[in-house]
Symmetry: D2
Subunit: 144 residues, 4 copies
């Protein structure tokens, strides 16, 4: 079922907020999709984002998934809100090995105070073949 | 109860492995304690590690906590092992606001295949006052 | 994508194993669907399964979701395996209020040692209207 | 650090609320300790609480841990509050094999709306020897 936004300018505000997340610029992540209840963030692989075997560090997988979850929740919040991550859990399904990564978050249940969001993270090779490498389930909070 | 290492050179190997985690250099994290079953990683705050309000991004909190958990598990594994994060959950208790951050991981239960680890992340102000800002509970896997 | 079972008699074995889970008889839960990678368990509401407000206790929500996850993982394991819950996380989305409950588990990624499973739990009213009340993400282990 | 209760009659209210959790009577669980920020629940093993190998079902482990977490959070909430489980994650460390079980919950951080709680579950043999079999990290919500 499609989600109904309560803040007409949610897309614009998410882009502005994302631009203030300085960590996104540091790692090279970009906001690639902004819809009510759905956010995608993409991240090209870089040699300086790796764990000891050269794969994307699990914490960076979590970083893009968490921002995607936060903005997916925010997209359904009323105007004048702030969003905060309460908790998230991530299962790492396969080595984070790829040319690019995509975190796709989708709201499971939007509430007045708490919103539950799920995110899948995919690795893409040079040909654009996708493989699911991680899945997150988290709780986001609305502050007014 | 103190943990008993099974790999005499665990400390040296953890230092070498940490040095290969290129993300640690990118964000400025350092390995500050290496003991059997216990690892600490410190991270000075920097303006380019932030979320939209200027606090340390939750994903970077998770990044140092996950590396600390992984090496805490690794410190108790036999020689010739590799460590892998299976999953972790992090509860974000307070805004990650501070001059420096410390992730302290401690093994809860070391197993042949799976090791369960807990990590606390503290924010420290200019005077060194500590405040708990996040807590992680995760599962690490031993590969031979 | 459909999952491919590796144990031809998985369905029979799951039914036999479920019958040995004495807690299922105590609470009145039944196995209602057994397919490769997908398991459903149903539970009629009873007054003696409640928390303080009369809703189904979150632990009983977790009980049926965990068994569903375990057997969903088991359905894709080779013959002569045992399944074990490593960890699970459950988000409780709405009060567990209904005439019947359905836990539906589906394998996210089946691995040699670890299998990641997601479960949704629905409450159904007298007319059979479904509402999602909880969602679980867990890790199951294969022992041979 | 000791927790400071804000509701003078918290202990009495917790006992009354626990008595209304009908599931506790069904499985035979008892409230064995009620202090500010700390709750213990004990459960004798019974043949009808088991999974397929005869051990206590992971969902019942979660049931006593979740109630312990909820009341630990509740013990620090103001009068006229209700407590609700938002989410919990449990890591199952060892088979839940024992004559009795003890869930001990302790508040990690009490907040106005959300309280984070940790619980350890121990198995005890006939001689009273304790072994840690599971650990939970959860989020509880205060409703007024």
């Amino acid at each position: 079922m499609p989600h109904q936004p309560r803040n007409a300018s949610f897309a614009e505000e998410i882009k502005q907020s994302f631009a203030k997340q300085t960590i996104m610029a540091l790692i090279g992540a970009e906001l690639s999709r902004v819809e009510p209840g759905v956010i995608e963030i993409t991240l090209p692989y870089r040699l300086d984002l790796a764990q000891q075997h050269g794969y994307l560090h699990a914490g960076i997988v979590a970083t893009i998934a968490d921002s995607a979850c936060g903005y997916a929740a925010y997209s359904l919040m009323p105007a004048e809100s702030e969003v905060l991550s309460v908790e998230f859990k991530v299962n790492l399904l396969r080595p984070a090995k790829g040319a690019r990564f995509l975190a796709r978050a989708e709201v499971v249940k939007a509430g007045k105070t708490l919103t539950i969001v799920r995110a899948d993270v995919f690795a893409m090779d040079q040909d654009g073949e996708r493989e699911l490498i991680a899945t997150m389930l988290g709780t986001m909070m609305c502050l007014r």
